[in-house]
């Protein structure tokens, strides 16, 4: 029984934390947040690429580090902790994972080395309107290798070179396509969001070249798999983000005095901090289980991923909202850093679908065909 990261992984964490603490202070995050013309922090991004992190799970023969998912979870948590204003999650958890999962050999050879170095950035484009994404709501369609339609809220859509796009094939089934975003037949409009330290765009395809990714008609299936994997990785980012908010609140509660006492000596504040901590402990532990399932490609992954995601989103909202609250009036100012975590928490909680969708997945998966096996594993051991 070993439910912790290994010494090597902890060493990687230390390195990552040292690096990010130094290079990605809140002031650096604000450089992107406060400047509408910036989509990401290019200097930080270049350094991250140089460290090889973009290729963490890409095999060495494609120019990656050839490490496992546990290492990527460690990095995700640290990136979440500093609210990094870079397209890491998009190109790594979404695009690279989609290609690792579904691409043919020539596609892998073509894209993975470039994704590993950051020479190209990838994204995943699926949502087209408010509400739940479902096959019947997707209007983007491919005819004769050309895609038309539009996608909204595409993460880093304005800076990515390559998009994995969910679209209807000629047979009306959902499939995934690889689309080079540097085509004249594509219109890209940056969208204003609740967290402009990250970048999102609306992308309109007007008969643009598109290349099938994975088998025809397997789009819904592949998308679910990609999102399950990403859910675990995002959960670590969310846990890192929530942890920073808790740490910040905790520190402030000790530093700030009212009525001649540290505000953290009042039970109203002490116990609120404990409730934040408790939610975060649940989220962290659920994320660990997700990491185990992801790293071993266990049958439990779909359930573990959905659980990790819902837990992380809940903890993220509680920790970041109450961090503002514990900072009192100051917390509600632009000057204090509390809002950086609050924005990011909500962004992360929506970027691959809301809690309601993932809760529904939890129940579907608990009650699925493999009900008995799964329930035995997940419930008996509890």
């Amino acid at each position: 029984m070993n439910f912790e990261f290994s010494q090597e992984q902890e060493f990687l964490r230390e390195q990552a934390r040292d690096f990010l603490t130094k290079k990605c202070s809140p002031a650096e995050v604000r450089k992107v947040l406060d400047n509408p013309s910036l989509s990401y922090h290019s200097e930080l991004w270049q350094q991250v690429a140089e460290l090889g992190w973009l290729g963490t799970t890409i095999p060495e023969n494609y120019g990656g580090l050839g490490l496992g998912y546990l290492e990527l979870c460690v990095l995700a948590e640290e990136i979440g902790r500093v609210v990094a204003p870079i397209p890491f999650s998009t190109t790594v958890y979404l695009a690279t994972e989609a290609i690792l999962l579904a691409a043919n050999e020539s596609q892998k050879a073509q894209y993975l080395p470039k994704l590993a170095t950051g020479e190209i950035l990838g994204t995943l484009a699926f949502a087209e309107s408010a509400g739940k994404v479902s096959s019947d709501k997707i209007a983007c369609a491919v005819q004769n290798g050309k895609i038309s339609g539009s996608k909204i809220v595409v993460p880093d859509g304005d800076i990515a070179h390559l998009a994995v796009v969910a679209a209807k094939s000629e047979n009306q089934q959902l499939s995934l396509y690889l689309v080079d975003l540097q085509q004249d037949s594509i219109k890209i409009e940056k969208q204003n969001t609740i967290d402009n330290s990250r970048s999102f765009a609306k992308i309109t395809f007007n008969n643009a070249e598109a290349e099938l990714l994975g088998e025809l008609g397997q789009g819904a299936h592949l998308l679910a798999k990609i999102l399950d994997r990403a859910a675990v990785l995002y959960a670590f980012e969310q846990v890192g983000n929530a942890q920073s908010a808790l740490d910040m609140a905790n520190e402030y509660a000790k530093k700030r005095y009212a009525f001649g006492r540290q505000i953290g000596s009042f039970q109203a504040i002490k116990h609120k901090l404990v409730d934040m901590f408790a939610q975060l402990e649940l989220a962290r532990s659920n994320a660990y289980y997700g990491a185990w399932a992801l790293s071993t490609d266990a049958a439990e992954l779909p359930l573990a991923a959905a659980t990790a995601r819902v837990s992380a989103s809940q903890a993220g909202f509680i920790c970041t909202a109450d961090n503002i609250h514990i900072h009192g009036g100051n917390g509600a100012t632009w000057e204090f850093n509390c809002h950086l975590y609050y924005r990011r928490a909500k962004l992360l909680a929506l970027v691959i679908g809301n809690d309601q969708e993932w809760k529904d997945k939890i129940m579907d998966r608990l009650l699925a065909d493999n009900q008995e096996v799964m329930q035995k594993k997940m419930l008996e051991t509890a």
Binding site: Y257, A258, G260, H325, G329, G331, L350
Partner: protein
């Protein structure tokens, strides 16, 4: 138990309606949105018109610019006035906080000088209370007042001052004795905001607005005649002001239930109307139950007013419940918008729903859980005043101010 006006109330309501329908400005909303100057000009014009006809500060005595009306008449005015209240919003803090305090502590001469132009909006007032180190613990304030002949010299910093940049006067609490116990070393003034040495800086909030200011005092002179209450008795005066802040605070806070229902009515979930989704319905019913409870608490307050009773601290329940609910409602609606919930749409983004209405609330609501008494302060007030539970242990009460631990 009924919702009808008494005959006298009905007659009063009728006269309010008649005057409003004859005099209320039309199509003011567009103009109002154009920025501070045009909005303030609109507000001043309307307030002047109200005052001229005896409809400003109607609960105030006539000699100070009011109408000598009852509390329930005041409430009836507010009901009838509706959204027009926004036009008078510039004057609210002055009238509610400064006005009621001057009424108790100013000289007759001062009242006659300052209250009528405050009522008519000719002079705008602000409130200079909170400091960076004194929020929930207001009595911990450190802005220093030193006597110098017939004047006082003020140095320090105030924060969260609404409207400081367009105010003519402000009410101000200072510390005049750093060696006295906390609550005994304070002195209260009103100050001309144009005095040399006052500097006003806007504070940007997380919702992007700058509704508040920091106000710096550098050797600002205030004549001793502008002291309200005795030297060292500023806390007592401040309590008069604060009681007026808290009375009725509950009624300012509204659920966004109606807006939620409207937006959800246009949504689908799994191909069916969103409002048929049972999980959503359960959540919405919870919101409805508590917003309906708050509305009915407000009816009970109105009922008290109708009997001439002031509302007690019970009304803080409404603020406690709704401020948090506004945050939860916003988060819930962004969840319902799902991916599109990320869009803030301060621009003209057609994919963002309702032009980012709930996103705006998501960033405004945290401040509402603090303003006018944080969740924790309200719980303490309700516990101590309504439930008569013991006060918190105070380690700072009898110490000289300078010896109170402050972490600095």
């Amino acid at each position: 138990m009924n919702f009808n006006d008494s005959p006298a109330e009905a007659a009063f309501r009728q006269s309010v309606r008649e005057w409003l329908s004859a005099n209320a400005p039309q199509n003011w909303k567009e103009e109002f949105k154009k920025g501070l100057s045009p909005a303030l000009a609109l507000g001043k014009a309307w307030q002047a018109k109200r005052a001229a006809a005896g409809w400003a500060c109607i609960h105030w005595p006539q000699k100070y610019g009011g109408r000598g009306a009852s509390l329930i008449e005041q409430a009836i005015w507010e009901q009838e006035e509706g959204e027009l209240a926004r036009l008078s919003g510039f004057f609210f803090i002055g009238q509610q906080m400064a006005g009621t305090t001057l009424m108790v502590y100013a000289t007759e001469e001062q009242k006659k000088r300052y209250l009528p132009p405050m009522a008519s909006g000719e002079e705008v007032w602000c409130q200079l209370f909170s400091e960076p180190g004194a929020g929930s613990d207001l009595a911990g304030l450190r802005t220093k007042a030193v006597r110098d002949g017939d004047d006082w010299i003020i140095n320090g910093q105030k924060i969260w001052t609404s409207g400081a940049h367009y105010s003519d006067y402000g009410i101000l609490v200072t510390r005049s004795d750093f060696n006295a116990p906390k609550h005994l070393g304070l002195t209260y003034f009103f100050v001309d905001m144009k005095s040399p040495g006052i500097e006003v800086k806007p504070i940007k909030q997380i919702n992007g607005n700058a509704d508040f200011n920091e106000v710096y005092f550098n050797d600002v002179r205030i004549p001793d005649t502008q002291r309200l209450g005795r030297e060292g008795e500023g806390w007592k005066v401040a309590l008069t002001t604060l009681m007026n802040e808290r009375a009725g605070i509950g009624t300012f806070y509204k659920s966004n239930f109606k807006q939620m229902l409207a937006e959800l009515g246009n949504m689908t979930i799994d191909g069916k109307p969103a409002l048929e989704d049972k999980a959503l319905r359960a959540q919405m019913a919870d919101f409805y139950v508590s917003m309906s409870g708050v509305r009915n608490i407000n009816f009970r307050m109105m009922s008290d007013l109708s009997k001439g009773k002031h509302s007690g601290p019970e009304s803080s329940v409404s603020k406690l419940i709704i401020a948090k609910q506004q945050q939860d409602e916003a988060a819930f609606m962004m969840d319902m918008q799902n991916y599109a919930g990320i869009l803030a749409a301060t621009g003209d983004d057609e994919d963002a729903s309702q032009q980012g209405y709930f996103q705006q609330w998501f960033f405004s609501s945290p401040a509402l859980r603090i303003a006018g008494g944080s969740d924790e302060i309200l719980r303490n007030i309700l516990a101590e005043r309504v439930l008569k539970l013991p006060a918190d242990i105070r380690v700072d009460k009898d110490l000289p101010f300078t010896e109170i631990p402050s972490g600095v």
